[in-house]
């Protein structure tokens, strides 16, 4: 297979990582979905792209898989220039969707057969059977997918993504809508295939704990821009503070809190305020003493974590209402695909 180590655009070094982007920009009319995104995903890692709905995660995956062209910038996936060599990119990537996309009218083996045909694999059967064994689907290989549970369908989808031995797998919110047990099972599978098959995984997620558990490297994306990158511990070390969020039913006197000893930052939120404090244990009594306790609806304290990093960088939580809306969309799609 030919690698594009000479035919690069805009002096991008395709060998710098499994995925390399430089200045990627994508606009839909006047809306900028991605703005000047530079990113390097090291080979063999699980790389998390973390951001709320509409942040640009899915657009980024579409650009990287050559489904849509970027308006500006360059990208390489597995050593191939996405714009110039889309077929080579697609031959070397796998994909796992949020919604579980399989052909329900076909059996597990037939789904794998079709994937083998589309990827032009001649010797696929043994690998397909190995994958079915690995994912504990071997006994159900001839059953129609419509009879599978959501967890089994997810496993089969990952098996499809691995069949042609890709070097990069894109997982677009792979655990959204799954129950905690299935989600943890998938986490184990994702780390397992990363270790066992040495494949690079780009994973987008809403879930902080998922990124923390799985990813060795992270990029936080908001409004189409990468706002931070690093390992989870590097990112956590950036925010050496606790975040105190207080929901109130009255207008707080912000200067009082902003100038309070131990408070690093104070910001008004939709229904109260958010304070960045050195130590919540020592500052919280002082904060409470300045509040009208009858008007306090809720207090939330976050110790340094990826969630506090995200709040610090974007001013909002990752696990917000948008995530729940996506769940409804997910279930609606699942019902449709199952007919």
């Amino acid at each position: 297979m030919k690698r594009s180590d000479t035919a690069h655009t805009d002096a991008i070094d395709c060998d710098a990582g499994a995925i390399v982007t430089k200045g990627i920009t994508k606009r839909y009319g006047s809306f900028t979905a991605l703005e000047n995104v530079d990113m390097i995903v090291p080979r063999g890692t699980i790389f998390g792209l973390l951001g709320p709905n509409g942040a640009g995660k899915t657009t980024m995956i579409k650009v990287l898989t050559a489904l849509i062209p970027a308006d500006a910038g360059s990208a390489c996936v597995s050593g191939h220039d996405v714009r110039r060599e889309p077929k080579l990119v697609r031959a070397d990537i796998g994909w796992v969707a949020a919604e579980v996309i399989l052909d329900d009218d076909l059996s597990a083996m037939e789904n794998l057969w079709l994937q083998a045909k589309l990827q032009n694999l001649s010797d696929w059967k043994n690998r397909a059977l190995d994958l079915l064994r690995y994912f504990e689907l071997y006994d159900r290989r001839n059953s129609r997918v419509s009879q599978f549970s959501t967890g089994m369908r997810k496993k089969l989808e990952i098996a499809l993504a691995l069949l042609h031995q890709p070097r990069v797998i894109f997982m677009d919110e792979p655990t959204i809508g799954l129950d905690p047990g299935t989600r943890r099972m998938l986490w184990q599978l994702i780390t397992g295939i990363n270790r066992e098959y040495g494949v690079t995984i780009l994973l987008t997620s809403h879930y902080i704990e998922e990124a923390d558990a799985l990813c060795s490297n992270l990029a936080i994306i908001d409004h189409g821009r990468i706002v931070a990158t690093g390992t989870p511990s590097e990112l956590k070390s950036r925010v050496k503070a606790d975040i105190v969020e207080i929901a109130l039913n009255y207008e707080p006197d912000m200067p009082t809190f902003a100038h309070m000893d131990g408070v690093q930052e104070a910001a008004r939120t939709e229904n109260g305020m958010r304070l960045k404090v050195a130590s919540s244990e020592s500052v919280l009594p002082r904060i409470l003493s300045c509040l009208n306790i009858d008007g306090v609806l809720k207090i939330n304290v976050d110790k340094p974590s990826l969630e506090t990093v995200f709040i610090d960088l974007t001013g909002k939580r990752l696990s917000d209402d948008e995530g729940r809306m996506d769940m409804r969309k997910f279930y609606a799609t699942l019902r449709m695909t199952r007919r």
Binding site: A91, W95, L106, K117, L118, Q119, N120, T333, M336, T337
Partner: protein, 259 residues
């Protein structure tokens, strides 16, 4: 690369065929519909005097006249299924799964068109059996039958490609139905599928003269009623299929999207 395209084409075509024939409703309708055509429409001239039938249809059996026309009309509508299958794949995300492999959009287009054509071809043996039960006798020359199969295949492929081309950018479930209504009725009634063109007005005769359904119906009648084959008509139908396939492939390459 050619081998890859053939593999991808075969995989997608096999998927279309498997999906179609695993649906018991499709099988039932495929079998029942031809009987209904011949029973209800074919019987509409059953009490007509023989002299009228001979003068107007050039045969004593209206069913024998109707059969090639109904088969041609069936092939006219099969393209709708290819369009619906494409829209379903887009809406359920499966098109994204296909397009995230090295498969060309033109290959997807051709496989979908061939899939719906194949679905339509099943009607030939079913309908011929039904017609035989209604008393129609057929020539036994296999060349004539192969020619008829080829003609219907070309007609189906041409119209499947036309349908797909017109709906390639759509994700709306209703589009294939609207397009079908828009295309089917004028093409069916301006052809000789149901009636000879002797009494058509001049403008309708002009449309009928270039209508592929007319060519297919006439081709079938030369076989059923005359026991002979008209290779010129077959060549015209092959040209029609090739043109539609080419135009549709170009349009699919340009406009077929994942959603």
């Amino acid at each position: 690369m050619r081998n890859a395209t053939l593999n991808q084409f075969y995989g997608l075509l096999a998927r279309e065929i498997k999906k179609t024939y695993r649906n018991p409703w499709i099988i039932a309708i495929t079998v029942v519909q031809p009987f209904m055509w011949l029973a209800f429409f074919g019987s509409s001239f059953s009490s007509a005097p023989k002299s009228f039938l001979e003068g107007f249809f050039h045969t004593y059996s209206y069913v024998a006249f109707l059969l090639p026309g109904v088969l041609s009309t069936s092939m006219l509508t099969v393209g709708m299924f290819g369009s619906m299958s494409t829209i379903q794949d887009k809406r359920f995300g499966y098109m994204k799964r296909i397009l995230l492999t090295p498969t060309d959009k033109a290959t997807i287009f051709v496989a979908k068109s061939m899939g719906s054509t194949t679905r339509g071809m099943v009607q030939l043996p079913v309908m011929a059996t039904a017609a035989a039960l209604f008393g129609v006798s057929f020539p036994l020359n296999p060349v004539l039958w192969l020619g008829w199969i080829a003609a219907l295949f070309f007609l189906g492929l041409g119209f499947s490609s036309l349908f797909m081309a017109l709906t390639v950018a759509s994700t709306d479930w209703q589009t294939p139905g609207v397009i079908s209504n828009f295309i089917t009725m004028p093409l069916m009634f301006s052809s000789t599928a149901l009636f000879p063109q002797a009494n058509f007005p001049a403008w309708m005769r002009a449309i009928s003269a270039v209508n592929p359904v007319t060519f297919s119906a006439t081709f079938g009648r030369t076989i059923v009623l005359g026991g002979s084959i008209d290779w010129t008509l077959l060549a015209y139908l092959a040209l029609f299929a090739a043109m539609m396939l080419f135009i549709g492939s170009v349009m699919a390459t340009k406009w077929l999207k994942v959603e």
